[in-house]
Assembly symmetry: C2
Homo-oligomer: 123 residues x 2
């Protein structure tokens, strides 16, 4: 097989501008590594069967939960366990996130709606 | 359930000094997030059933494969697919890595030997 290729996160983030639209940059044991740019706030939702890892690559993320908020800066991560309602909010003008979650995870989870993205582009 | 807690990578790296000894800082869908500090070179090995994601948090990692090398700086990641022989080498005095791999993954894979760590500490 060919030599595995590396992924430069900053370079990959530079390839797209859309917000709340995850892009796939890698796979590991059935999980996908996705990059997403956040602006403003998303929608309250949960993923019934999937945990979701958020690692802040740039900016500040406020992750709201029903019983409290967690504020994350660059180099900080949080795992939202399956079934837990959450609302991601970009506290900076634009916040860049690396996600680790299954291919099956839909961005809006059980909330659905117009911000749902089902076909993810691969970078 | 209680509010999920965040993980500050720099803070967690500050809690240990050993080299080539992964520490567990989180779990997502059966994968573990591990932190490890590398110095010098490791041993050639492969993991027969597990892909392994390396994200460079500090320093430079040279990942050697049988058919070529890949040099990774901070903010770059690589997924070593299952079955692929690899030899991680720290090119800087100390290189900090975030790993995503199953709990079952043993650092030395199929090579074994004295550098094998089987009981991982949780930070």
């Amino acid at each position: 097989m060919s030599t595995p290729q590396k992924v430069n996160l900053t370079e990959k983030f530079g390839l797209f501008a859309e917000h709340w639209t995850p892009k796939v940059v890698g796979e590991v044991n059935g999980q996908q590594v996705k990059l997403v740019k956040l602006v403003g706030e998303f929608v309250w939702h949960a993923h019934e069967d999937e945990d979701e890892l958020f690692l802040v690559a740039r900016g500040v993320l406020r992750m709201r939960f029903r019983d409290g908020d967690v504020r994350l800066e660059e180099g900080e991560l949080i795992v939202v366990p399956r079934g837990v309602e959450h609302l991601p909010v970009a506290e900076t003008e634009e916040t860049w996130i690396m996600l680790v979650e299954p291919a099956s995870t839909v961005n809006t989870g059980n909330a659905g709606g117009e911000r749902t993205v089902t076909e993810l582009e691969r970078l």
